[in-house]
């Protein structure tokens, strides 16, 4: 049994397909895996990866920033500002963003934007498998 997965960003639907299981991490709640038939669920996602395991066994991994997940019936949607597929991440740029953020933090360790940027860059690198 599978369900329909949609990754929706404000600009467009970035991914749509069938899946057997979706693994995400919610804010404060830790990792959570959804399989078809999961009770209706709405959660706030941490800046973390979302893994989609397709019926053929392959998995797609996305870096998700500021998102929500909603599971309803046979549909699961992930709403987020940014969702990047592992294969589409620009490693060089992520590395650069990470360096920039670290540099900013070394000057002012209360720079919230830099903390966020660092978390995002680290996630990107991790998802890209560096």
């Amino acid at each position: 049994m599978t369900f329909q997965v949609e990754l929706v960003s404000p600009e467009a639907i970035t991914y749509s397909g069938e899946a057997e299981m979706v693994i995400a991490r919610t804010l404060e709640g830790g990792d959570i895996a959804f399989q078809p038939g999961h009770v209706p669920f709405i959660g706030v996602l941490a800046v973390w990866s979302v893994e989609v395991i397709r019926p053929d066994g392959d998995r797609d991994v996305f870096a998700v920033h500021r998102g929500f997940v909603q599971v309803a019936g046979t549909k699961i949607s992930v709403l987020s500002d940014v969702s990047e597929k592992s294969s589409e991440i620009d490693v060089e740029r992520a590395q650069q963003a990470k360096d920039n953020a670290e540099q900013k933090l070394s000057q002012n360790d209360e720079d919230i934007e830099a903390v966020d940027a660092l978390a995002r860059a680290e996630l990107r690198l991790q998802v890209a498998g560096v």
Partner: protein, 311 residues
């Protein structure tokens, strides 16, 4: 010398033709942009719809909290007006109608005894309000053509901060709704405070018919708290995209009629020029005939004016 008028008209026709080329090019550019902008507006819809669905489900789950974005001020002391205009002109009535609607909101605020804060997007509205000595609280340019979500997020954040800091107590959003390629209209919407979640839910698309109770993580309140700012951003983003599509549609229409007018003008000027040319020739012939007649002799006249050369 005869032909002076003709030359002048010829120059004029040339200049109209050049203008026509420009307006025609602008029309074609606007035509492709409007398709793109329309597509972007369409692509952005699922997100806004899904967020509304989540709010619907939250409302059904009984989440009702005291969020700063829901604060209903008892006494409105300052009204924020967001106006979305364009950076460039030549878009027909697009800018003037949206600016007029925004000015009306400012006047409404004043007549209620409240102060106003203008949050202006697009150079045209800024120029208008600055020229009339309105104070412009915040101004953003260079995005109205092709807005990104990041732009919407930044502006929405500015506005939300003004609102949650009690600097403004109500926010109206004035933009141009894109109904279809042939019809756009200025819309004024209450932007903040947000309606209660129930109202958002009943106004929503309502595609969630399931009455199953949802599980929330961390909690319904926490979900709503991080969801509401997203909802505000998505609404502003939607308005920006619709305005962009409307701007291009308006420009296309304006440039099409400018091109048509240029064509009509060219036809008219062409006729006028031909008449002037004919007149000049006739005058010249008359002068020659006159000269020949003055010389007196009938034989000589026939030499000077060959048969059929009246024109």
């Amino acid at each position: 010398m005869a032909g002076g008028k003709e030359r002048e008209l010829r120059r004029r026709i040339e200049s109209v033709q050049n203008t026509k080329k420009i307006t025609r090019a602008m029309e074609l550019i606007a035509a492709t942009r409007v398709v793109k902008a329309q597509q972007r507006a369409r692509e952005a819809r699922p997100y806004a719809e899904q967020i509304t669905t989540v709010i619907e489900n939250l409302a059904a789950g009984g989440a009702e909290i005291d969020h700063p974005l829901l604060r209903q001020a008892e006494n409105v002391e300052r009204v924020g007006v967001i106006v979305i205009s364009s950076d460039r002109g030549l878009a027909g009535p697009y800018n003037s109608s949206v600016i007029r609607a925004a000015e009306r909101q400012v006047q409404n605020a004043r007549s209620e005894g409240a102060d106003y804060s203008l949050i202006v997007i697009g150079k045209k509205a800024r120029d208008y309000f600055a020229f009339r000595n309105y104070t412009v609280e915040s101004f953003t340019e260079g995005i109205s053509d092709n807005p990104t979500y990041e732009d919407a997020r930044r502006i929405a954040e500015t506005v939300a901060t003004l609102f949650t800091d009690n600097h403004i107590d109500r926010v109206e959003l004035v933009y141009t709704e894109f109904l279809s390629i042939g019809s756009q209209k200025v819309a004024t919407r209450r932007f903040l405070p947000l309606e209660s979640t129930e109202t958002i839910a009943t106004e929503g698309s309502g595609d969630s018919k399931n009455t199953d109770s949802f599980e929330f993580e961390p909690s319904p309140e926490a979900v709503l708290e991080s969801l509401l700012p997203r909802y505000v951003e998505a609404r502003l983003f939607g308005a920006l995209l619709e305005s962009a599509a409307s701007e291009h549609a308006n420009r296309q229409r304006a440039m099409k009629s400018a091109t048509d007018n240029a064509e009509d003008l060219i036809v008219k000027l062409d006729r006028e020029m031909n008449r002037a040319r004919q007149d000049a020739i006739t005058t010249e012939i008359m002068e020659i005939i006159g000269g020949a007649e003055a010389l007196g002799d009938d034989d000589q006249r026939e030499d000077l004016v060959p048969a059929g050369a009246e024109n």
